[in-house]
């Protein structure tokens, strides 16, 4: 409902991109075009990157599957004469693939799976969906159609006509499938030497036929059972392998198939990566990298993550949301021209027009910056375009550097917080990222408590964390970290020295060693008590001093580098932070939108005449709105006559109280017609329906209706 009034941004953008753009304020078509191209190239880069990441993530699973397929097949061929093999029942190799409840992501996995299979193992892959297979007949039709088409792909084009003709009158039964399979394998066998195709020569002699059931849950029991029973009878002639795509849990196999059928299968389970880990990797590669100039603000990121965690678990939707952010940012922010790689933006800053400079000056973060400068510089910034451009360049560069440093320090901080008990700052780095982006993290209580906890870490953990931090900082591209790394290394050597010192001093050390050696409870308690006493008596050991120093140093790093992005000048150019737009588009509330549209038409129509106050019903509103408002006041059953009466009163109200119309009870024919049209529109929208309980009454269907 709500989308009728708000066409999606993308569509609008693509169609009207070059046209005049009222929200820009200035109408230089070159700027918009440049923005459009920047946006597109950025998105293409990101798309490539995500595809690469997802491929890597699925690699393990797919490799296992391919292994399984090749193994199942080779066992068929090798030992046909052995006794065990003769005695054993030939089961159909089956791979249930547990993919998680994010059904929207499955499509991609299946696509890469079928690509991989077709490249490496077999050209005969059929993907079946439950909605195409209500009966066994449809399933066989679909299966044969897909298999025989792929046969065309492999073979030369000459046979195409022949196959297509024969396909029409081919009988959809297993025996014709087997006949086809024999034909095909024999043909490729005889042709392989002459064929130049490398792909067909990599297949085995008789490649397996893989049938993928994409959504196992939705298939009816009968179809599956019949198919499995039929194909198990012909497994000797047709090396079939089944793959079940499962969204819930593998128990569904036992629920769908009785034992007599499931005993025909040789089931080996495969599990894909959890979608949460998948998301973490995507966030890590997309948001916490310096590859892309475009960044998400805290609120926007929060919205996207919330949709993921609360609603759909779909990584695909998360990426779509990210894409929407990009499009919206480039569309609504004229200065997003500057949101490009560091190589380009100097040139772009120099070629800024006067209007664009003005809009830089209007940015709130820039104004704040100007106010802090000396008066001469203020004037220069506000009047001289060239000076402004230079300054902008510098600031943008600072912003990029800030982001790089931010990411490195964020990772360091995450090393510490992710090992604390109860995770006061969140377990995942995305939680930490959100917290740091939103406001100064060191002002929060959670940060305080996590520092407290960090001051109680034991030595081996602390040392390994510091080492991890050193590695992170060394691998980061920022140049500022040389000193930091040095400082951290110094800490490490101090720790080492401490250890050596400990070894020399054997008083406390021996007790510690004893502690490790002894298993006797009594002795253990005793030594523990002694240790406690000694600790209480000493003020602070050297180690504790050092630990405080390390934590304080980390704290200083955080305060220096983890400043929220919103505090930085010119952050509006790189950071997208209008969460409300995103929420409107991604988490739409159709009921609410419909109610708003009918109850308050001004909201969408933007007509001044429609602006009304409170509960009164304006007669200038569209008829359907009047009828809707009147119907809100009724109970479950609405009397049509009363409703018409009320409607005509409202409509007539504004017209001058003419003597004859007011006196006559007869309702105007036109008003009657308008009323009937509005009521049938409401019926179409599903608000009311004719009732059988009482004639000339309609029943309300929404919002309780008492």
């Amino acid at each position: 409902g709500c989308f009728v009034f708000k066409p999606s941004v993308k569509k609008r953008k693509l169609s009207q991109r070059t046209a005049h753009d009222s929200r820009n304020g200035n109408d230089d078509s070159e700027g918009t075009e440049l923005r459009f191209f920047t946006c597109q190239s950025l998105w293409n880069q990101i798309k490539l990157e995500t595809e690469k990441v997802q491929e890597d993530l699925n690699k393990q699973l797919l490799d296992n599957l391919v292994n399984f397929l090749s193994r199942s097949h080779s066992e068929f061929q090798e030992k046909t004469n052995e006794w065990t093999c003769r005695m054993k029942f030939r089961e159909i190799p089956t791979a249930p693939l547990v993919l998680g409840v994010n059904v929207t992501d499955h499509e991609m996995t299946f696509r890469s799976l079928s690509d991989l299979l077709q490249n490496n193992i077999t050209p005969y892959v059929a993907l079946l969906e439950a909605k195409d297979c209500p009966g066994i007949k449809n399933l066989m039709q679909k299966l044969m159609g897909q298999l025989m088409n792929c046969y065309i792909d492999v073979d030369s084009m000459e046979d195409e006509d022949y196959v297509q003709v024969s396909q029409k009158r081919i009988r959809c039964s297993m025996s014709s499938l087997i006949k086809w399979y024999k034909n095909v394998t024999e043909k490729t066998d005889s042709e392989t030497p002459s064929q130049k195709r490398t792909s067909s020569s990599t297949y085995w002699q008789s490649p397996p036929v893989v049938v993928v059931f994409k959504d196992m849950e939705s298939f009816t029991t009968k179809v599956l059972q019949d198919f499995i029973v039929i194909s198990s009878q012909h497994i000797h002639e047709l090396p079939l392998v089944l793959i079940f795509g499962i969204a819930t849990s593998p128990m569904i196999i036992h629920r769908l198939l009785p034992h007599s059928v499931s005993s025909l299968l040789c089931i080996e389970l495969f599990q894909s990566l959890s979608c949460k880990e998948h998301l973490s990797t995507i966030i890590d590669k997309l948001l916490l990298s310096d590859q892309f100039p475009f960044k998400l603000g805290a609120k926007v990121l929060q919205v996207l993550i919330n949709i993921f965690l609360y609603h759909d678990f779909s990584v695909q939707n998360f990426i779509k949301g990210f894409q929407l952010c990009i499009v919206e940012h480039f569309y609504s922010q004229p200065l997003s021209v500057l949101c490009c790689q560091q190589v380009d933006f100097k040139k772009r800053v120099n070629s800024l027009s006067h209007d664009q400079c003005e809009s830089i000056r209007r940015l709130p973060s820039f104004r704040r910056y100007v106010e802090k400068q000396e008066s001469e510089k203020q004037i220069a910034l506000l009047t001289t375009d060239n000076f402004l451009k230079e300054e902008t360049q510098k600031l943008l560069e600072d912003l990029h550097v800030y982001h790089d440093n931010y990411v490195s320090v964020l990772r360091c901080l995450h090393v510490f917080t992710s090992s604390l008990p109860k995770y006061p700052l969140g377990k995942q780095i995305r939680d930490l990222h959100c917290a740091c982006l939103e406001n100064p993290v060191w002002e929060t209580e959670e940060y305080e408590s996590s520092l407290q906890l960090a001051r109680m870490l034991n030595k081996s953990d602390l040392v390994s964390m510091v080492q991890q931090c050193v590695e992170i900082l060394l691998s980061s591209s920022g140049k500022e970290f040389d000193k930091t790394v040095e400082k951290l290394k110094e800490f490490l050597t101090q720790f080492q020295n401490l250890e050596e010192a400990f070894q020399e001093r054997d008083v406390s050390l021996s007790s510690q060693k004893e502690l490790q050696k002894k298993t006797d409870l009594y002795h253990l308690q005793k030594t523990l008590l002694e240790l406690k006493e000694s600790r209480r008596s000493k003020k602070l050991t050297k180690f504790e001093m050092l630990r405080f120093e390390v934590v304080d140093y980390i704290d200083s790093l955080v305060r220096k580098y983890l400043v929220p992005a919103e505090h930085r000048t010119l952050h509006e150019i790189l950071y997208f932070n209008t969460a409300s737009v995103l929420r409107e588009h991604l988490n739409a509330a159709p009921r609410t939108a419909l109610h708003t549209a009918l109850n308050n038409p001004h909201w969408y129509l933007k007509n001044q005449a429609l602006k009304c106050d409170g509960g009164s019903i304006s007669n200038k509103a569209p008829d359907i709105c009047i009828v809707y408002k009147l119907h809100l006041e009724c109970g479950r059953l609405i009397n049509l006559v009363d409703w018409l009466e009320a409607f005509s009163t409202v409509v007539m109200a504004a017209e001058e109280p003419n003597a004859d119309t007011a006196s006559s009870d007869q309702v105007d024919d036109i008003i009657h017609a308008r009323f009937i049209r509005a009521v049938s529109e409401l019926e179409l929208l599903g608000f009311i329906k004719p009732s059988k309980q009482k004639t000339d009454h309609v029943a309300r269907l929404t919002w309780g209706g008492c």
Partner: protein, 433 residues
């Protein structure tokens, strides 16, 4: 034990037949006496029923093949429409006539066509003076085809006016087949289950070449001791026997025991078989995984079975939706006010009643509930405010496609849809944690 004896067939063939169908001699001799000699007209239709793997299909196949009687063998599950079934019968008939001639494609849409083409085929194969047998395996599928198929097959002899006998094989009794309108009652024949002695005898026949028959028979004895309680399926038992035999032989191969050392061997194999019963037999792990485990001598504990993966990750609101659906399905409507409203007034003293109700509700199964009630309960069990966004509604739909909820009565789309919760209490408990 009755020896097979029939004047019409050569004694050698009968002897071979007898050796091939152990424990089914009486049924075979019964069938033979019904069939009579080659040129005799036999009973028009025979209905054979018996439990799974009681040898119906096998006996029929061996009988017809060994005695080289003309026959057509069709599985009704495989040819799932009447057209496919009839065409398949005709194709098999034709292909039997001359192997060199490529079978032309036959079109046969109605039974009338079938009778006509059938007559032609019989003439072309010169089978007029022999009984032709048409065996329909898994005949219960015939009931799902057109109404005329089953009665027509039963009277095929009469309709085609030729020497033909239709044999129906099924797992269910004839009473469940009988159509309403008067139809020809076939001769029914029952194949009883194999007894444990029969199983022992049949399974022991195929011993591996490396070992003696006695050794293998002892193994089968142990195997049956473990599995006979749960499984009498011959095929499955033979599969299990093949899977576990290598483990049984292990002590012999290693030289720790000789073939006569039954007790030692039993001690070795028995726990192993019990484990197999819990895993392979239930298809918790696949037989190839089981074999690999045997080779590696690993514990099956490392390999988790299918039912170990019951945990499911669900989005936050999906969890609450499912819990709300469960509550709506198993609680009566009148208790909603008491459970989910803050100011619900007095609780009447109906504790005894309530307890009684609760148990019975779980026994009765889920009840359907309208969408509005589901949402109302959702709003009251989630802590913070929930906006009725499109995402919430699409989650309900996706729960339906995942078969965690099911939709009830979807004829009227304007009326609020009604759902049922199909998951168990254990599942809800796991989610709610």
């Amino acid at each position: 034990m009755p020896n097979l004896d029939h004047p019409a067939y050569p004694a050698a063939a009968l002897l071979q037949l007898e050796s091939l169908v152990p424990c089914r001699e009486s049924q075979v001799s019964m069938l033979l006496s019904i069939f009579g000699e080659r040129q005799h007209f036999s009973f028009p239709s025979i209905f054979i029923y018996g439990h799974t793997s009681s040898g119906k299909t096998y006996v029929m196949q061996t009988l017809l093949n060994t005695l080289q009687l003309p026959h057509v063998f069709v599985n009704c599950v495989e040819y799932f429409t009447s057209r496919l079934l009839l065409e398949e019968i005709l194709i098999q008939l034709q292909s039997g006539s001359s192997a060199t001639e490529q079978t032309s494609h036959v079109h046969c849409d109605t039974f009338n066509d079938f009778v006509r083409l059938f007559k032609q085929a019989v003439v072309s194969r010169e089978l007029q003076d022999q009984t032709l047998y048409i065996v329909l395996d898994r005949a219960e599928q015939l009931r799902e085809m057109e109404a005329n198929i089953l009665p027509a097959f039963l009277r095929l002899q009469e309709l085609t006016d030729s020497n033909v006998t239709v044999v129906l094989l099924s797992e269910i009794v004839w009473e469940l087949f009988r159509p309403n309108i008067g139809c020809f009652d076939p001769l029914t024949l029952y194949f009883p289950d194999y007894s444990i002695g029969h199983l022992q005898k049949i399974l022991s026949r195929n011993h591996p070449p490396e070992y003696t028959a006695d050794f293998y028979a002892a193994y089968i004895n142990i195997l049956l001791g473990v599995f006979y309680m749960v499984c009498r399926d011959l095929k499955e038992l033979r599969h299990l026997a093949a899977l576990n035999f290598s483990k049984y032989c292990e002590p012999v191969v290693r030289g720790e025991a000789n073939e006569r050392d039954t007790r030692k061997l039993w001690k070795n194999i028995e726990p192993h078989l019990k484990k197999a019963m819990q895993t392979v037999y239930l298809r918790e792990i696949s037989s190839s995984q089981w074999e690999r485990l045997q080779q590696d001598d690993g514990e099956p504990g490392q390999l988790k079975g299918l039912s170990a993966h019951t945990h499911m990750e669900l989005p936050y609101y999906s969890k609450f939706l499912l819990i709300a659906a469960y509550l709506a399905s198993y609680n009566p409507v009148r208790t909603d006010k008491r459970f989910f409203l803050k100011h619900h007034g007095k609780i009447r003293k109906t504790n005894f009643m309530k307890k009684h109700e609760k148990t019975s509700n779980h026994l009765l199964g889920p009840k359907p509930f309208p969408l509005d009630r589901l949402l109302a309960i959702l709003y009251s069990i989630v802590d913070n405010r929930v906006a009725p966004t499109a995402n919430i509604f699409s989650q309900i739909t996706s729960l339906v496609t995942l078969q965690l909820l099911s939709m009830v009565g979807q004829n009227d789309h304007l009326e609020g849809p009604r759902y049922k919760c199909t998951v168990s209490l254990d599942f809800i408990r796991a989610i709610a944690r």
